[in-house]
């Protein structure tokens, strides 16, 4: 199945502005990001030593923000759009 990943600011510089990811079998948002980080060498940027996403990182699935738990137990479907934000610094 195909997932679109969009990212911003420092994460855009890691992942690119928008990319299409092919996954096989069941995949959660956390699994997709974890696999990508291994490839890009950015595991420490997104994940704590315990392997959870840093609390100030926001993951949005098809326009809805996910809780930490949801990033681990939501199954992605073909055509989903995943957005990942680094900590915000506006205002």
């Amino acid at each position: 199945m195909r997932i679109t990943l969009r990212s911003f600011a420092r994460f855009r510089e890691i992942f690119g502005e928008e990319k299409t990811i092919e996954t096989k079998g069941v995949a959660t948002p956390k699994m997709v990001l974890s696999a990508l980080c291994e490839e890009k060498g950015c595991t420490e940027t997104l994940f704590t030593a315990e392997g959870t996403l840093h609390p100030h990182i926001t993951v949005i699935l098809n326009g809805r923000r996910l809780s930490a738990g949801e990033t681990e137990d939501t199954s992605l479907a073909d055509g989903d759009t995943l957005v990942v934000y680094p900590p915000v610094s506006g205002g």
Partner: protein, 132 residues
Amino acid sequence: MISIQKEDIDIGALIQQSRDKRMGAQVVFVGTVRDDGDSIEAIEFEADRTTAIADLRTIAAEATEKYGLISVDIIHRDGLLQMGETILVIIAGSAHREEGFAGCRYIIEEIKRYVPIWKKDINTTGDSHWHD
């Protein structure tokens, strides 16, 4: 008015537009690019405009409900801003000053907490780095 824009903000015109005869107070927050003594010469702002605008609308509605505001305006700029330029203007209009101050403060704190806008310092040396 809720907006994210590259263009500068005419603060005087915005204050005038937002005025209503039921209003006794307008509390305005203006954020500007500050020279903090480092070698920063400009700041680049990036926003996820679609989500940011939706979030700003949510925050404006919450502030209106929570503090009984009469009007809320929020304009945040993106793109490259030089030292001294306006980043952000918030106007909370209310019958009395207490609600205006509380509402305006609520809005800026919520924006800082989660609205998807990021800033990158641009140094005089040509280096740049994203804020945490």
